[in-house]
Symmetry: C2
Subunit: 159 residues, 2 copies
């Protein structure tokens, strides 16, 4: 069973809704979640906030935070997850922000650096990955990682 | 060259930005646009508004219109395109709303009914398609159709 099919089962069983804020995955996570027939029962919305302006306007990520930490950071991943949850009223907010390449990498944050955030209840855990590969591969690995992240949380394995 | 690569060329050449509002395509159009390296130069945001509430809250589609015409309608496609353009400040707004199935079809609007809207300058053209196939195929055809729609408009073939 694919991660998006497992997610469908877990959300439906617990009566939870989800919303997603995506940067480097560019809509791929939302697209995979909505590949599952009946996703409208638990998927409220996906916000693909590619620019800093979109992160501010649509997710209420503070400009100061974007300037101080950078769009690809633990702090902004957390703020995006909380922002999309607040904007949509979903039970669970999931976010991804990273550098898919080939441009945009730095020594400190090379191409493949990806942060993922979750907002649920009073929790806001964040994960960081360093993926290898080309743009398409990093996008796929990021989407897989984010779906596994929310599954681990909801299935109780994440502490 | 893929439609998303052609779109990259046309937008870059004319210095235009785009934002996308998706319902039945679920993020696939945004994902394809951002498959192209450097998309951040012209792609501002994608809003995957799966629920009516998200269409109202994120795209300012009037509730009366949703109730009177239905989420899958010419009028809502137009309002979504205008809404995403307004919400993001993009030069071009592109929208898709339809019934990917397998559920949700009616006699008047069977599975595969898909409306696409554009907002650019003072124009707001809308197209309607009746696609055949399963959920995945209708999603793909809708994304292809929407990319071809905006290309035809920008390349001047659409009148």
């Amino acid at each position: 069973m694919s991660p998006e099919e497992r997610l469908a089962g877990v959300l439906a069983a617990r009566g939870l809704t989800i919303a997603v804020a995506e940067s480097c995955t560019g809509g791929l996570i939302s697209s995979r979640i909505t590949d599952v027939a009946g996703a409208s029962a638990y998927f409220l919305a996906g916000l693909v906030t590619y620019s800093n302006e979109a992160k501010e306007a649509l997710l209420s990520v503070p400009r100061d935070l974007l300037m101080a930490k950078g769009a690809v950071s633990r702090e902004v991943a957390g703020a995006m997850a909380e922002g999309v949850r607040r904007a949509t009223g979903a039970d669970v907010g999931l976010s991804v922000t990273g550098i898919a390449g080939p441009g945009g990498g730095t020594e400190e944050k090379p191409v493949g650096t990806v942060y993922m955030g979750l907002s649920a209840g009073t929790d806001c855990p964040v994960r960081c990955h360093r993926f290898e590969g080309d743009r398409a591969s990093i996008k796929q690995q990021s989407a897989d990682g984010a779906l596994e992240f929310v599954l681990a949380y909801l299935e109780g394995g994440l502490r």
